[in-house]
């Protein structure tokens, strides 16, 4: 079953009278359970494509379906609801809320989704265990290493049991050891939970984990290798 379907999507940024075409008509389909990398040089459109899939941005033309919904037809609040219920995000800069503890950061999407306290506790502990950071539950982000913060971000992304997790350069700010650890956790969770992972990267060490590699250049998909499915 398709989790993501992109139909001839373009994205044009206008700055004054200048127009920049970030995507020039992308067609892409991602199946449930894939572990797919979007690769390409800087400015190739990886992040823009992730933002369209993640309902953070809207295409200038074309359509984007996520979990069976045409997200280009949704208003601002509906897109927020879509992100909250169906999509998890992992960012290059870890993106934890600095005033919340690791536990509370993971709990935040569950709070927004209206889960009961006992459900939240159970789910947060399950995820902290999965990323091996139960003992760091009460620490705030500034008390955690970069690798630990990114693992908390993974746990947060998975908290609402999304159909899809999008990761933008998830290892870019990590050393090799932490980067490897993060990729291994993402791979393990993909296999164990079946949740679809799509990540943008230009790091060859990260690409090797991907079962499908979609290569972008100048806003177009130029290569599409593998089926992304768990073998």
């Amino acid at each position: 079953m398709e989790v993501v379907k992109i139909d001839n999507a373009t994205r044009v940024y206008k700055i004054g009278t200048m127009e920049t075409q970030a995507l020039r008509g992308v067609n892409l389909s991602i199946e449930n359970g894939e572990f797919t990398a979007l690769v390409g040089p800087s400015g190739s459109g990886k992040t823009t494509l992730l933002q369209l899939i993640g309902c953070l941005d809207q295409p200038s033309s074309g359509a984007v379906w996520v979990d069976g919904k045409d997200v280009t037809r949704l208003n601002r609040n509906q897109r927020a609801d879509m992100r909250r219920g169906h999509i998890g995000f992992i960012f290059q800069f870890f993106a934890l809320i600095p005033t919340l503890t690791a536990y509370e950061n993971v709990e935040m999407p569950l709070l927004l989704n209206g889960h009961s306290p006992s459900e939240r506790r159970e789910r947060v502990m399950e995820l902290l265990k999965a990323v091996d950071l139960v003992e760091r539950a009460k620490n705030r982000p500034d008390q955690l290493s970069g690798g630990q913060q990114q693992r908390i971000a993974i746990a947060r992304a998975l908290a609402p049991k999304p159909a899809l997790v999008l990761a933008d350069e998830p290892t870019a700010n990590l050393d090799t050891e932490n980067g490897t650890q993060v990729m291994q956790i993402m791979e393990k969770l993909n296999k164990e939970t079946g949740v679809t992972f799509v990540f943008a990267t230009h790091d060859p060490r990260v690409m090797k984990y991907a079962r499908r590699i979609v290569t972008l250049r100048d806003g177009l998909i130029v290569e599409n290798n593998g089926n992304g499915k768990n073998s």
Partner: protein, 405 residues
Amino acid sequence: MLQLFKMSFRDLGRNRRRSFFSALAVSVGLMILMLMSSVINGEMGSAIQGAIILETGHIQVRAASYDQNKSSLKWEDLVVNPDQIASQISVLPQVKAATPRLYASGFISAGNQSAGARIYGIDPASAANDPYRLGIISGSYLKADDSAGLLIGKPSAEKLHLKAGDNVSLSVNTANGDVAEQTFIVRGIYSTNTSSFDSATIFLPLTKAQTITQAQNRASTVFVLLKDASYTEAVASALKGSDLKVLTWKDLNPLILDWETQANSYISILYLIILAIAASVIINTLIMSVYERTREIGILSAIGMRGGRIMVLFLAESTLLAVGGVLMGVVLGVVSAYLFNIHGFYIGNMGLTGFTVADTIFAKLTLNDTINLSILTFIVTILAGLYPAIMASRLQPVEALRAEK
């Protein structure tokens, strides 16, 4: 909601000094509002109370044709048999004292100095005149049968270099339009701590005033002091019906009441200015906070927080600042009003004519004002957070995520 407040509280704690000074701006604003309100209350209360006790009483009964501004002494303008009328009024249960008074104008001379004077002929024995008796600072009070003594206020005595026992010449207008002149002895010097009153008023025993002005057994007014101002309308209604005119303290003090209305208008403008200053500090603090946390807003938006909730998050911050600011403000306001209530605020003789403003104003803070001003400050502070909150809620997630940390 609780989690949002928790986040807001922690966000405020990130820059404790800035948050503290923002709340302090609110609290100082509220303190100034409470202090201004209490001083105005005290001043107005003192002016009205002073005017009632010293000059007008709660009610006056006069001849219909009497013109206060002319201090008329024509017989047809005076009350006949005022003692009898005063006795009848005195039996009413709401009345503390009722006494005849005769007003005349003239001037007082000592050596080569002279000064204009309002002459009050009073019954020294009446409780209505206790404020003058209690104000004696030198010499003695008048007796009803004293035909040669007068009381003079402290400012006039100082101006004319008089002391108790000195002789003065008093010229007084009479009922037939002449001027009578007679030498008196300064029996006593008084002070009611109201310079505008003390500097112009001279007291004579009523009988002596009636004799010198040729008013005979007549008075300008029957001065009525009630046990409580709230009885005014009821007693005034009970006294109406004869040929005499019944005036209440509101009729007799239009200037003070106008002044109160105008002062309230000016004070409202000052309130707005002070609240606007406090609000601008809050707006500034929260806008800074929005700019500093743009990326975080992007993250919250990315994980699905709706714009409305982001707005609530920032409104929760202004609410917390409002709570802190108002609590601190109430404490500062109560303490400062208490200090002004104990020690007063000396203004001296402001040169106001027609006003009986005491030389020292004592702040009077009411519970009603404290509650109203606290609620007003609280609402204004929260409203001040509205613009930054809307600003935060309208940030586009993609742009917010791109912001520098």
